[in-house]
C-alpha cells in the first residue's frame, strides 16, 4: 500500500500553522512506523498494544494541551485535534487510549485536582509511566449518568466507596481511576489507586469492536478512599461532563482520521481492481461512493478546524462539540461501510484496515454521548425544549 499522503481537497493545509503541520506530520509518521505494522495482530488477539504507551509518552501525546510545568507539550487545540486524527487513522483503540489519558484523566486532575494531586500524577501520566481510566458509566446508567448509584460515604478518615462501573476504557491496566460517585447526593470525583482493597477491575471480553483497547468493569466493595484522594475543585455532573467535552472534541477529529484511512484504502483499491475489463474506479457507482466519501471528509475537516479555532479562542459552546462529534462519527461510519463495499470480499479481510475501522466506529458512535443524545442536545439548543431529563 502506498504511504498515506493526507486528504486535502480544499487546501485546508493553508489554514494550518507551521507547528500544526509539524505536529500532524510527526504523529502521521509515528502511526505509519509504529502503529500500522502491529495493529492487526493486536486487534485479532483483542489486546491493547501496550508497547506503544511509553513511546506515546515520550513523543508527548499524553495530555498534550496541558502546560509544560507538568511535563506536557502545551499544544493548541488544533494541533491536538490533528494528533487525534492521525492516531485514529491508525486505530480508534489507540486514539481512545490517548483520549482517556488526556481528556478524561489528566484534564480532571488538572482542572479539579489539588496541587498535590497534580504534582504527583500529571508528570507520570504525561510520560505514560502511569495509566489512568475514567469511570462514569454504570451497568444501569449510560446515557443518563446523573442517575448513578455508585456512592461515597464520608467517614472520619476519608470515604467509603460502593458501586460498580462498566465499559471503562483502560480499567484493568490503569494505575489510577478517576471515579465519579455521589457524596451526599452530589456527583464527586475520586482518585482510586490500583490495588486499593475492595477495588477490582476485571476486563470485559467478547467485543466485536474496539478490540485493540482494554474495556473493563470497576467494582467497589467498601473501598476506603483517603481524604486527599477526592478531587476538591467542585461537585456536580458538570465536572464529568466538562471532561467529556475535552474528549469528544478529540473524537470529532479522530473520526476523520478513521474515515481518511478507509477512503484512502478504497481509492487505491478501486484503481487497481479490474472487473469487466476495467478498474472498478471507472464505474459510475464506485465514483459516486468515492465522491461522497471525499465530500464528507472535507466537510468534517472544516467543521473540526473551525471548532478547534473556537476552542483555542475560548469561545466554543459544548453544543458545537456535540455537532462535530455527531456529524463526523456518523459519516466516518458510513464511509467505512462504503469503503468496505468497494473492496468487495477483500473488504472483510484484515489485510485491509476498513472492516476494523467500521467495527471500531460502532463503539465511537455510542461512547462519549451516543449519536441520539447529541441529536437531543442540538435539538434542545435550537428549539429551547429539552427532549430528555
Amino acid at each position: 500500500m502506498p504511504k498515506f499522503q493526507g486528504v486535502d481537497f480544499f487546501n485546508i493545509e493553508s489554514l494550518l500553522s507551521e507547528e500544526e503541520i509539524l505536529v500532524r506530520n510527526t504523529v502521521r509518521e509515528f502511526v505509519d512506523d509504529e502503529v500500522l505494522p502491529i495493529i492487526e495482530k493486536h486487534n485479532r488477539a483483542g489486546t491493547f498494544p501496550m508497547e506503544l504507551a511509553p513511546k506515546m509518552g515520550e513523543l508527548g501525546l499524553m495530555g498534550a494541551t496541558l502546560p509544560e510545568e507538568y511535563g506536557c507539550a502545551g499544544l493548541n487545540n488544533v494541533s491536538y485535534g490533528l494528533m487525534m486524527q492521525e492516531l485514529e487513522r491508525g486505530d480508534s483503540g489507540v486514539r481512545s487510549f490517548a483520549s482517556v489519558q488526556s481528556g478524561l484523566v489528566m484534564y480532571p486532575i488538572f482542572a479539579f485536582g489539588s496541587s498535590k494531586q497534580k504534582d504527583h500524577w500529571l508528570p507520570k501520566l504525561a510520560k505514560a509511566e502511569k495509566i489512568g481510566c475514567f469511570g462514569l458509566t454504570e451497568p444501569d446508567f449510560g446515557s443518563n449518568p446523573g442517575g448513578m448509584i455508585t456512592r461515597a460515604d464520608e467517614k472520619s478518615d476519608g470515604y467509603i466507596l460502593n458501586g460498580a462501573k462498566m465499559w471503562i476504557t483502560n480499567g484493568t491496566v490503569a494505575d489510577v481511576a478517576v471515579v465519579w460517585a455521589k457524596l451526599n447526593g452530589k456527583v464527586n470525583g475520586f482518585l482510586v489507586e490500583k490495588g486499593t482493597p475492595g477495588f477490582t477491575a476485571p476486563e470485559m471480553k467478547g467485543k466485536h469492536s474496539l478490540r485493540a483497547s482494554v474495556t473493563s468493569e470497576l467494582i467497589f466493595q467498601d473501598v476506603h478512599i483517603p481524604k486527599e484522594n477526592r478531587l476538591p475543585g467542585g461537585e456536580g455532573l458538570r465536572l464529568p461532563l466538562s471532561c467529556l467535552s475535552q474528549a469528544r472534541y478529540g473524537i470529532a477529529w479522530g473520526a476523520i482520521g478513521a474515515a481518511m484511512a478507509c477512503y484512502d484504502s478504497a481509492l487505491n483499491y478501486s484503481k487497481t481492481r479490474i472487473q469487466f475489463g476495467r478498474p472498478i474506479g471507472s464505474f459510475q457507482l464506485t465514483q459516486a461512493k468515492l465522491v461522497h466519501m471525499l465530500t464528507e471528509i472535507t466537510k468534517g475537516q472544516l467543521v473540526s478546524l473551525q471548532l478547534g479555532r473556537l476552542k483555542d479562542a475560548g469561545k466554543v459552546r459544548f453544543q458545537q462539540i456535540s455537532f462535530a462529534k455527531r456529524n463526523n462519527v456518523f459519516h466516518a461510519l458510513e464511509i467505512a461501510r462504503e469503503a468496505r463495499s468497494i473492496l468487495g470480499a477483500n473488504g472483510i479481510l484484515d489485510e485491509y484496515p476498513v472492516m476494523r475501522h467500521a467495527a471500531n466506529l460502532e463503539s465511537v458512535l455510542t461512547y462519549e454521548g451516543t449519536h441520539e443524545m447529541h441529536t437531543l442536545i442540538l435539538g434542545e439548543d435550537i428549539t429551547g425544549v429539552a427532549a430528555f431529563e
Binding site: P2, K3, Q5, G6, E18, E19, I21, L22, V23, N25, T26, E29, F30, E58, L59, G60, L61, A64, E68, C72, A73, G74, L75, S79, M83
Partner: protein
C-alpha cells in the same frame, strides 16, 4: 563541540513527479516536501554528538522560503540554531556548496554533517565539495562514527563491506542510513522550536557550472505477460528469461 548540519527540503519519496511546462523543472503544485531522509540521519548524529560532548548544533539550509519548514523540523528535533541561506533561484551542486561553504567558514564548526545525497537530484556532491572548499578532510557514506580526542573513527559503507577510516577534526561527514535511528521531533520539541528564531540571510552568489537542459520521465514499463498458473509453464518461463529478458 560545535556541530553544523546541512539539510535539504525535498519532494516526498511517494510523490508522483510531473515535469513543468518549462521542461527543465518539476511541477511543485500538490507535491509534499520533506526533510531529506539522509539529512535526518545527519541531524540525529549531530544531536548525539552534542548530547555526549555538550556544545551546539546549527542547521543550515540553502533555498527558498519553503525550506523554513524543514529547518523548523530540525529545531523541533533538538537543533539549537537554524540558518536559512536564502535563494529562490536554481543552483547546481557547486553553487549550493559554494553558498554553504561561505557561511560555514565564518561559523567554523568542529564537525560538519551532511546526508550522503539529497533524494531530489541525487547529486551526492555537496558534502564533499564543501569539505574541499574549506580545505578539510571528509568521509562519505558513513555508517558508524566515534568521536574521541579530536579524532573521528568512521566506518564507511563500500561495495560488499565496510572501510574503517580515521581523521582529525575539523572534518565533514556524509551520513548513510543505518548510522543511527533518527528520533521523532517530540511535541514539546515542536512547541519549543516555535520560539527559536530562524536566521535568514541571502546566500552568496555563485556561478552556475552545470545547467539543466531537460527533464525526462523514464520510459513506461511495458505490460507483463502471464504464461499460466501451474508448473507446466516453467520450461517456457526459463526459456523467456534466458532468451528474451536475458537475465539468466
Amino acid at each position: 563541540m560545535k556541530v553544523a548540519v546541512c539539510i535539504n527540503h525535498v519532494p516526498d519519496t511517494e510523490t508522483k513527479i510531473k515535469v513543468s511546462s518549462d521542461g527543465v523543472s518539476i511541477d511543485k503544485a500538490g507535491v509534499n516536501f520533506m526533510l531529506s531522509p539522509y539529512d535526518e540521519v545527519a541531524i540525529e548524529e549531530g544531536l548525539k554528538i552534542k548530547e555526549k560532548f555538550k556544545g551546539e548544533v546549527t542547521a543550515l539550509s540553502l533555498g527558498g522560503d519553503s525550506h523554513k519548514e524543514t529547518l523548523r523540523k530540525a529545531l523541533a528535533m533538538g537543533v539549537d540554531k537554524a540558518v536559512l541561506l536564502k535563494d529562490e533561484g536554481v543552483r547546481d551542486s557547486f553553487g549550493v556548496a559554494a553558498g554553504l561553504a561561505a557561511e560555514l567558514k565564518s561559523l567554523s564548526p568542529d564537525i560538519i554533517l551532511f546526508g550522503k545525497q539529497s533524494i531530489d537530484y541525487d547529486g551526492a556532491q555537496v558534502g564533499t565539495l564543501v569539505a574541499e572548499m574549506l580545505g578539510m578532510p571528509s568521509a562519505a557514506v558513513v555508517v558508524k562514527m566515534d568521536v574521541e580526542d579530536g579524532k573521528v573513527f568512521c566506518e564507511r559503507e563500500i561495495e560488499g563491506g565496510h572501510e574503517v577510516v580515521e581523521t582529525k577534526l575539523p572534518a565533514a561527514f556524509l551520513a548513510q542510513k543505518g548510522l543511527n535511528e533518527p528520533r521523532y521531533p517530540s511535541l514539546k520539541g515542536i512547541m519549543a522550536a516555535k520560539n527559536k528564531p530562524i536566521e535568514e540571510k541571502p546566500a552568496v552568489a555563485a556561478e552556475i557550472r552545470v545547467e539543466t537542459t531537460a527533464m525526462k520521465k523514464p520510459v513506461p514499463k511495458s505490460a507483463g505477460k502471464i504464461l499460466g498458473t501451474d508448473k507446466s509453464v516453467v520450461p517456457e518461463l526459463i526459456r523467456l528469461l534466458h532468451e528474451e529478458a536475458k537475465v539468466i
